[in-house]
Symmetry: C2
């Protein structure tokens, strides 16, 4: 990569420069995306979806050289503003076989932009391990033989040392990614995971150990005053608007979740859990040594924990987020906080997604208890729910694909396919991606969101409709999108479907821009941030169209891979009440969910039979170029 042509700061927050890295050829090119591209797609998920659809041929092996691995910042990434320190990573997912993407905070994305690069598209496979070094307009591929096998912390330290700059930011994989765990993640800054859909395995399959970045350029928004004003406004409001996340971090509401039934217990089977043993309050009072946050964010939602006995937990890896506390904790029946913290540390060191790992372990535990996995098959582990040591042992085995871990590394869908004998009923996944830690039997909008998310079950592409039960900030904000009235949790009528739809569309726009969902910017403020970043007279109308555009591209990617409406469905367990606890008498009604999905398809402009985007909706979104990617049956008028 040559030096940047010009060094004069742009009067907007992005350069449009994309590094095209061909690992097979060992070649790096630079491509520049134009202003209109960013205005239509915003970056992040938009860049990823656009690239994957055009470049990854249908049926491509997610772990083969033809897959693309895309690191994409968005138009707001790196602004000195709460919630703007994120980027997205995407590829065809080895977990689902469909569209894969994850967003992540920290400092890496901001650093990449400061280095004059908006996105990196990696293709091919290096003949031997390499890392990519991006620094102020230059990029090189370097040998990584000496890094292969290292945990993330060692990898980062070695890179900083050998490149001679302690301020280098590193995104990398550990053994989990190298060993192609299907839900391996990519960690940056040690604490921040592009967690879901197995992107770490894609990185591993390409023999790409790490991307180290260093940039000293400035990200210059078109209207710095507005950015500053918004930043100050939110910083002054953080206690009011994000109290729980600010003081306790993610999971602040865990005790409430346990009471309402939102907290998954023993593979979503049961209710009732000694949540006080693993809650963020307890963490604060016991193992927490501080809070940390992403670049420029006033919330600082990230716990940092430190443990010495009975085994050390390294604070360099932060601490367990809510999803981790539930997935490796309550979902496995584990109430040993230190074990969970240790498992979290290991997952971050090995680059394994804590949600999918926890759910794979929970599924194995339930199979074991039911006699569907024999003591021999589990390598002699006492795999009953609640065994913290077994959980910890399995995290190790998964990352190294050793023993039972090699099986668990495939994810619960493949596990259930192999085990059979009815285990599919409680294999908690959609499209192959394991459930996150929120209960669709409680929040019916989640049932819709889990079902239709292009990445499989994902709580970040779902309306948490507890927010809509009554008047409050969430409803006040959602009025900006035409959601005018409160609605009960168990409602799945057209108004709920519409609320879910606009909410998800907004989330996909956030994943494109890339903005953090935790900062309660109003929808108008999101558009205002884009306006200030870019200098466009950008509107909320465009924001929503961009979200819809990108979501349709992701769904289209899946359609081409053979996904149909049949893949937009939940495992049987969600249609049955829990064995005990708050959800002992309630479940998702499949008839009502089916009806709501029908409404959602119609609202979304998706074919009611296949769930594929219709030609008409693609055309409305300015995506007529994408019609050819529809399966032939979907290209007809409609």
């Amino acid at each position: 990569m040559a030096h940047q042509e010009g060094t004069a700061p742009l009067s907007r927050s992005f350069t449009g420069r994309v590094l095209r890295v061909d690992l097979t050829q060992g070649r790096i090119d630079v491509e520049t995306l134009d202003d209109a591209f960013y205005r239509r797609y915003l970056g992040g998920w938009g860049t990823i979806a656009h690239c994957l659809l055009r470049e990854v041929h249908p049926g491509a092996d997610p772990l083969g050289p033809a897959n693309r691995l895309v690191f994409a910042t968005g138009v707001v990434t790196g602004l000195p503003l709460s919630g703007a320190a994120r980027h997205a990573v995407g590829a065809k997912s080895p977990l689902t076989g469909g569209f894969g993407a994850a967003e992540v905070g920290g400092f890496w994305g901001t650093e990449l932009k400061r280095a004059g690069v908006d996105a990196i598209v990696v293709e091919g496979r290096a003949p031997r391990p390499v890392y990519l070094w991006v620094h102020d307009g230059q990029a090189d591929l370097r040998d990584a033989a000496h890094l292969w096998g290292l945990e993330t912390k060692e990898c980062e330290a070695r890179l900083r040392e050998e490149l001679g700059d302690a301020r280098i930011r590193v995104a990398c994989i550990g053994p989990g990614g190298e060993n192609l765990v299907r839900y391996a993640c990519i960690m940056n800054d040690l604490k921040d995971a592009a967690g879901r859909t197995g992107l770490g395995a894609v990185m591993g399959s390409k023999n790409l150990k790490a991307i180290a970045v260093r940039g000293t350029g400035r990200i210059t928004p078109a209207d710095p005053e507005t950015i500053q004003r918004l930043a100050k406004w939110f910083a002054s409001k953080v206690e009011e608007l994000a109290y729980g996340w600010h003081t306790l971090g993610t999971g602040a509401a865990m005790p409430t979740f346990e009471l309402t039934g939102n907290l998954p217990v023993r593979n979503f089977r049961d209710g009732g859990f000694p949540v006080e043993k693993i809650s963020p309050e307890t963490i604060r009072d016991t193992i927490r040594i501080g809070m940390d946050g992403c670049f420029a964010c006033a919330i600082r939602c990230k716990k940092v924990v430190k443990v010495d006995e009975p085994y050390p937990v390294d604070p360099a890896y932060g601490g367990p987020e809510y999803e981790t506390l539930a997935a490796l904790g309550s979902a496995c029946g584990v109430d040993d906080l230190i074990a969970i913290a240790k498992a979290n540390e290991r997952c971050n060191a090995y680059t394994v997604d804590t949600i999918s790992a926890g759910m794979a372990i929970a599924f194995a535990m339930e199979c074991y208890e039911r006699g569907l996995l024999s003591p021999e098959e589990v390598g002699g582990l006492d795999l009953r729910f609640g065994n913290a040591e077994a959980m910890l042992a399995l995290v190790e085995q998964i990352a190294r694909r050793q023993g039972l871990g090699d099986f668990l590394a495939e994810g619960v869908r493949r596990m259930a396919e192999r085990i059979g004998r009815g285990s599919e009923a409680f294999a908690m996944h959609v499209k192959g991606q394991e459930y996150p830690m929120h209960e669709p039997r409680l929040k019916r909008a989640l049932a819709l969101g889990y079902a239709i998310s292009p990445t499989g079950a994902d709580h970040n592409h779902s309306l948490h409709d507890t927010a809509l039960e009554k008047e409050g900030l969430a409803l006040q904000n959602l009025r900006e999108l035409g959601v005018l009235e409160p609605m009960p949790l168990d409602d799945l009528g057209p108004a709920k479907v519409r609320a879910t739809w606009v909410y998800i569309v907004d989330q996909i726009a956030q994943n494109s821009a890339v903005l953090c969902d935790f900062v309660p910017w109003s929808f108008s403020q999101r558009a205002e941030i884009v306006r200030a970043a870019t200098g466009w007279n950008f509107t909320l109308f465009e924001w929503m169209k961009a979200g819809e555009r990108v979501l349709n591209l992701a769904r289209l990617f899946n359609a081409r891979e053979g996904f149909t409406a049949a893949d937009d469905w939940l495992p049987l367990r969600s249609f049955q009440p829990a064995t005990s606890g708050p959800l002992a008498h309630t479940a998702v009604d499949p008839a009502r969910l089916g009806e709501a999905l029908g409404t959602l398809y119609r609202v979304a402009g998706w074919d009611p039979h296949t769930g594929w985007p219709t030609r008409g909706r693609l055309e409305e979104l300015g995506l007529e170029w994408a019609v050819e990617y529809l399966p032939p049956a979907g290209r007809r008028a409609g």
Copy 2:
């Protein structure tokens, strides 16, 4: 109607109070629409479409008692702001048999709101002529026997006299409405016409001569400071942003129109016209005595003309707007400015739409020249193009339904049906409504707009794509709706279709709110005005959804009346070049228009075969209640 319950000003710009006037029963009730109704429908067209769809049964006689005549202000009507002095009037149209509506400025709408009333719904038919008197929370029906037959000026004067208040505002009909001219208009303030779709005939059919209003209440926006700031901003920019309209009034661009071919000449047959004889510059230099405007508007686009010889033209009726200059002028081949000014005065006195009247006369002239109307049939008039006296005589005859005028009062569709012999080819109407004075052979987006407007050919529900040929304010503004690039006039590709679609949707939102199209508020500013008016955290996203909602209701009304895609089409002449002039070698390509309509249906979410709104789009817009109004074949999923 009782006194208003409370007199405390609301912290928003509307009351929601609707007068329900049953003329058959002589009864007046008050209904109150709620906040959510206004947020979803905005008033104006929204109130009209909602009412007509629910209350006017399919097949109802537009001139029978079952029709509703709705006068509806919108959430911005009456704000002290340029472009906000408008209201809308609607009914099932006697001209088209479908959704009828027209918007009008002046002072009447503001006065109605000051009287504490947002809308009036008139049903039934009075046994004898009556007028409605609305004043500060009270309303009465009064005998109008002494007013029947009067021209509008006399009617207004008598009402002010007998009600004892010179500040009373009057909307009324003259002989044109009384005689059920199918394109009779309703005039308010003598100069302002709810011109199109024949609403004056509906008023006449109900024996309702006038609605006199007087209100002393205040319209209190939620955020008066923002309204004031916007008003001042625009007032200071009026020369820059609305120069032509401000200085010359409508038709400022007439000479350019003649050069480009936009100016219709002799029933859209020819090109080339001595435009300088009838242009606004000439008017300014000869018969103009001043400019006038609507309540609080800084543009003041309305010419006032006065003539003494050879016959007087009364300045009380204002002066001819562009549409009138072209319809009664160039479209009839008439270049006698004083005759046009006189015809305009007569149309305003008689309440006859100048566009449809001009086009009916032009059509008759062409038929006469072709021998399709014999000298006997035209009562001995020399009906060749260009005969100003014949044009003037026909205006009289139309209003009184005398002689040939009785035939012309039916509109060109019915005239062509009666005349036959190929005359349909140059009967310039869509859905029965006569073409306005802009050329779809020049501006291809107009071809789309004329075709799909629910009221028939209408230049106010159409993108004038001259604005999009190159960079400029229009494109800069349209970027807010995702239209990013210039496009040529003859383009009818997907990008043009989308631009047309979002533009029309915005216009329908304007007709609902009710805002004037002449004030170049940006789209964001429109949402800002609604926000300031209402106190809602209203967004451009909602604005566009409201426009789409109302447009779909209007299309749905037509679908139920039997309109299909076949009605979304232009007369043959638009597909043939003009005989001479700038359009001598160009015409709308029917294949390309058909393709563009197909794209537009898909973009709009309308059935590609019928043009009806699909269930899915209705559901997306929160109109699931309206699905039952679809013809049975349209109710299936989609």
